[in-house]
Symmetry: C2
Subunit: 136 residues, 2 copies
Amino acid sequence: MNIGQAAKQSGISAKMIRHYESIGLIHSSARTDAGYRTYSQNDLHTLRFIKRARSLGFSLESIGHLLSLWQNQERASADVKMLAQDHIQQLNTKIRELTEMRDVLLTLVEGCQGNHRPECPILHGLEAGPNCSAAS
Amino acid sequence: MNIGQAAKQSGISAKMIRHYESIGLIHSSARTDAGYRTYSQNDLHTLRFIKRARSLGFSLESIGHLLSLWQNQERASADVKMLAQDHIQQLNTKIRELTEMRDVLLTLVEGCQGNHRPECPILHGLEAGPNCSAAS
DNA sequence: CTTGAGCTTCCCACAGTGGCAAGCTTGATA
DNA sequence: TATCAAGCTTGCCACTGTGGGAAGCTCAAG
């Protein structure tokens, strides 16, 4: 199967497949005499694994670790679990940060008339600092 | 005040202040004869505005809009409000995505023994796709 | 006058993805 | 068989926002 087919079937763009190869995330695929990359079902399996890991927000670096654990029959599930928990932590941190931002913004927006006049608590908030008293 | 002072007092690194100037987010500051950038209280005010907008997650592009509204005495608060609401939307979308990722991962992690043995539901989940039945 | 801190510009890096261009291959059709 | 479109190749540039470093100038204090 050529790269276009592999892209369609894995959900990863051809561009990205080449990129993943270039950074060593996946092994260099086989090539035809003309130099076309060819992909086996096994390769496809790996690409799908990557696709799903990406969709859970793992970084390419973490995915590298996950792949090597996946392919290592002697792995300890504890190692995988640690990676996953670590990522959950990061997700929670990010979620918390974004939620705080949103809540501050919501407060500001609620106070804003949103009319034709220039008076605007949102701008005042940015000026004075919503977190001015609460440090930064 | 030199750029170093401005950086300390605004919380934006000197590096970034120069960058913001280079992309036109802020006006080019005054210079001494020797070519050193100098910043007034007014400039500092602007930098702090940017700092706070950044801390609420606004993109530099949006901050450009916010700045011009801020400096325009004839703005309509409705315009500011729209920008803010738009950003809240984006934050909510992101929060939702990350939360979904986290929840899927939590489910996988719960099923994993996390011991010395290779059997690992997390890897199975990545293989088969946690969202395999639920589309992607 | 020397020294060290601070400033200048310019280039490189990161993660992850997209786009474009020049040139070759492949397969089908006229 | 000649040709044409679609698909492949590599390579370079873009984005966002930030940091690092180098080479060289300036300023203030000793």
